[in-house]
């Protein structure tokens, strides 16, 4: 046997080793952590004492979704959260199984009048006072025999058009549902902010992302170019898309109250 390394040698070696250690790149945990906390808050289920395991049911769902997307995209899903009937998934790379389409009239469902839409869907359709009557109204089928309403408004001097569309505002209304009727895939880099619409918890999402409508025929994926505000009021999930900045977008949404 040779001599044992001295304590000083070992310490020197450890310091040298520490300076050359390779770590995998640190993941973007910030959006997933804040999304989980916001989801907790939205569900009003703050644990009664610190450290309690968080939403086990959702964790199971999360694992299932993560596993599925791992198979599909080869990358991991970080987390998911939901507002009303829309679930939001934070993903590392957008799933790219089908080419997404930019929202346009033909993609939004059957064009009807507001009165017909009101008669067809089983929930009250709301309209922001600040905008007046919508330019066009569409009704689309979604899963679970639910119908989704899409209202659009033309652009004008005060309301710039959403990139890639002729409209200034797209308001999607979904009925209350225990199961998601639509999902959003946002990248970790997409800005997801908790805001308030009146007294309702809401998310403000800015940056391009994708919206997937779950229809009886399968998934319909839409590319979203505008800023999106998501919230739920009186059992209806509302999704407002606009080119306006956050404060004005929120003000517009609040004119629905």
């Amino acid at each position: 046997m040779g001599d044992r390394m001295t304590r000083a040698d070992v310490e020197r070696s450890l310091i040298a080793l520490g300076s050359t250690l390779e770590y995998p790149p640190a993941p973007a945990v910030v959006p997933t952590v804040t999304a989980r906390l916001l989801a907790e808050r939205a569900a009003a289920r703050r644990p009664p004492f610190p450290g309690l395991a968080l939403w086990p049911r959702r964790r199971i769902l999360l694992l299932a979704v993560a596993g599925l997307l791992l198979l599909l995209a080869g990358t991991a899903v970080a987390t998911r959260l939901a507002i009303g009937a829309i679930e939001i998934r934070v993903v590392r790379t957008p799933p790219a199984s089908t080419p997404p389409v930019v929202e346009s009239g033909t993609e939004l469902g059957e064009r009807v009048t507001l009165e017909v839409a009101r008669a067809r869907v089983g929930f009250p359709i709301v309209v922001p006072e600040a905008l007046g009557p919508p330019a066009e109204v569409y009704v689309a089928e979604s899963v679970f025999s639910s119908r989704v309403v899409v209202l659009v408004w033309d652009a004008d001097a005060a309301h710039p058009p959403i990139e890639g569309t002729p409209w200034s505002t797209i308001l999607m209304e979904l009925p209350g549902s225990k199961e998601p009727l639509a999902s959003k895939e946002i990248l970790a880099e997409t800005t997801l902010e908790a805001v308030r619409v009146g007294s309702h918890d809401a998310y403000w999402i800015s940056g391009p992302h994708q919206l997937t409508l779950l229809t009886p025929e399968g998934e319909q994926r839409l590319t979203v170019t505008g800023n999106v505000l998501l919230w739920e009021q009186d059992g209806t999930t509302l999704r407002l898309e606009t080119a306006l900045p956050k404060a004005e977008g929120v003000a517009l949404a609040e004119s629905i109250m």
């Binding site: 390779e22 995998p24 910030v30 804040t34 808050r41």
Partner: protein, 212 residues
């Protein structure tokens, strides 16, 4: 109907960030008041260190990511127990290391140490430090193997002091031990590490298995 923890705190960071970056203590206070964005800023500051700590324990990038994420969520709810005069870094590291250890215990399946030392930095723009150059590749590997054979607590105290460069006081807080015991614990850990290292003149000989 819904929980109203957020109040208007959500926008506090962006409202105030224009003037100057918020101090850590201010972020902690905002986070305690339910400001998730302020907490996100704290997470941003510590995510790298948290992930590295968790990785040193779990030796798996996926487990380290989960551990860091869960730890940050738990820490948010534990913030009310955090005392303002204490340093945040060791406090969060303690939560991270506990999460990472839990994961390790529930998934003892990996063999060997996944850590690697950078072997060739010549292509990079920075020249290796004299210490790094002096430590030969095989010696590094022997050291990594020896570290891998140590018990968790020994490995962690060594990692805190030499890899993550925490002070003795921070190490004590991160490990939840008295500051006076850091020196003796570290000393014993280093002795056990030395026991596992090949003698200098035999450094190039294969090591006996150290897993266990």
């Amino acid at each position: 109907m819904r929980n109203r923890l957020a109040r208007d705190g959500v926008s506090a960071v962006t409202d105030r960030v224009e003037g100057r970056p918020l101090e850590e203590a201010e972020l902690i206070e905002l986070a305690k008041d339910g400001d998730v964005q302020a907490y996100g800023e704290l997470v941003t500051r510590y995510r790298e260190l948290a992930f590295r700590t968790a990785f040193l324990i779990t030796r798996s990038a996926a487990d380290a990511e989960d551990a860091a994420q869960d730890a940050f969520v738990k820490a948010y709810y534990a913030l009310e127990r955090f005392r303002a005069r204490d340093p945040f870094r060791p406090w969060i590291l303690r939560i991270v290391s506990n999460e990472a250890k839990n994961r390790l215990r529930s998934a003892r399946r990996r063999e060997g140490l996944a850590l690697r030392a950078a072997e060739d930095r010549r292509s990079g723009d920075a020249a290796p430090s004299p210490e790094a150059a002096a430590l030969e590749v095989e010696a590094k590997e022997a050291l990594l193997r020896a570290l891998g054979g140590l018990k968790e607590n020994d490995r962690l105290i060594i990692a805190y002091r030499y890899f993550l460069e925490l002070s003795e006081a921070e190490t004590a807080q991160a490990l939840g031990i008295r500051p006076g015991t850091v020196k003796s614990r570290l000393s014993r850990a280093l002795d056990r590490l030395r026991d596992r290292l090949p003698a200098e003149r035999e450094a190039s000989l294969p090591m006996e298995a150290t897993d266990g």
